[in-house]
């Protein structure tokens, strides 16, 4: 692939956005500068998205239906995001973060799934592995974060859900999910079947992973799932070869894991025991 000038400009703009994300996170380490950090990070996001659109229009060759749907989708998402973020009560914020994480994971999974299914020719192994991982991790976060949000919100049936023999289910769905993923990589001609199965099993795994964990531990779980979404985004980035997605996704992935460790330390419990669940009980939810 030869790089055109617009490719090079876009590359550096994405690098600039990534630098702004790192600065934003850095400033959020201290209460004094935290708001500035959030602003810098948001500005980086605006720059990156604007660059993606500029590149889209300069390069051309796009389809108006796709671009129309893209813009309509962004408008709907922006309105939904602002309204929900403005309306939520202060005490309900952790749930909303979890919902945002849900949709982010879903978006990452969709981008990866699109990469596997949309092209007419069979994708190469690198795309299959990275996009497959993106689909898998993104789908796990989708259902996992949804359950986490439900538990924090105290929605009756979510709180009451129990999972007898949870470790059996966990192992079962992990094995099925990984098996479908391997089949996807080995038999790319049947990619529709195997990618759908990978998605379904990953969605199931997200459920059985979070259901046994007590409501009081949810913030840690959300942080772990947040890291997962970051990783899913990075995997989608590897699949479509985009520096902004790779760097920002990896950044969130690593920062999310570190933050989860810190959060569980603050609760005086090792991260692994939080994730194993079955302690604290869901009735301990706030």
């Amino acid at each position: 692939m030869t790089a055109t000038p617009i490719d090079i400009v876009a590359w550096f703009v994405y690098v600039l956005a990534s630098v702004m994300f790192v600065m934003g996170l850095h400033y959020m380490n201290s209460p004094k500068t935290a708001r500035k950090g959030n602003f810098i990070s948001a500005a980086g996001m605006v720059i990156a998205v604007a660059m993606a659109f500029i590149k889209l229009f300069v390069t051309g060759g796009y389809n108006w239906i796709a671009v129309g749907l893209l813009i309509a989708g962004i408008a709907v998402g922006a309105i939904a995001g602002v309204v929900s973020a403005k309306k939520v009560k202060m005490t309900d914020m952790p749930q909303l973060v979890s919902v945002f994480n849900t949709v982010g994971g879903g978006a990452a999974a969709l981008v990866a799934l699109n990469d596997i299914l949309a092209s007419d020719h069979t994708p190469n192994l690198v795309v299959l592995i990275t996009a497959g991982l993106g689909v898998m991790i993104g789908s796990v976060t989708f259902t996992g974060s949804l359950i986490a949000a439900g538990k924090l919100q105290g929605i009756g049936f979510v709180k009451k859900m129990r999972l007898p023999g949870k470790s059996v289910w966990n192992v079962l769905f992990i094995v099925l999910m990984l098996a479908s993923f391997v089949m996807l990589c080995v038999f790319p001609e049947q990619r529709l079947l195997w990618s759908v199965l990978t998605t379904v099993f990953a969605l199931c795994y997200g459920l059985v992973f979070v259901i046994p964990i007590g409501g009081a531990d949810m913030p840690v779980v959300i942080s772990v799932l947040n890291a997962c979404t970051g990783t899913a985004v990075a995997m989608s980035g590897l699949a479509i070869d985009n520096v902004a997605l790779i760097v920002a996704g990896a950044l969130v992935g690593a920062a999310g894991v570190t933050l989860s460790v810190l959060m569980s330390q603050a609760m005086n419990r090792p991260l692994m025991s939080v994730l194993a669940g079955g302690f604290g009980g869901s009735d301990a939810a706030a």
Partner: protein, 100 residues
């Protein structure tokens, strides 16, 4: 192949930065930081825009629309809600007389 090698290198280096940048964050900032990191992975909309450039089948139209809605909700809502959390922080500090 070299492109993939570069990408994986970037991935690993970004992981290290991610670990380093969250070093000594006070417990009170855990939730805003989580929320802030959460909005950053909304970068996936850049991916949606890139994918949209090549889309030409009904299936990918559906994917693009849904991914655009979900991704934008993540990023826009994420930043607004983080800002609201941090705003609360600031007024908290003022109530304490702004010492420190």
């Amino acid at each position: 192949m070299p492109e993939l090698v570069v990408s994986i290198t970037l991935f690993i280096l970004a992981l290290l930065i991610g670990i380093e940048v969250i070093g000594k964050v006070p417990a009170t900032l855990h939730t805003p930081l989580m929320s802030g990191a959460n909005s950053i992975h909304g970068i996936v909309i850049v991916g949606v825009v890139i994918v949209a450039a090549e889309a030409n089948s009904p299936l990918s139209y559906v994917f693009i629309f849904l991914a655009a809605v979900l991704g934008t909700m993540n990023v826009v809502g994420g930043y607004v809600v983080t800002d609201r959390m941090l705003e609360m922080f600031k007024s908290d500090k003022k109530d304490k007389g702004g010492n420190k």
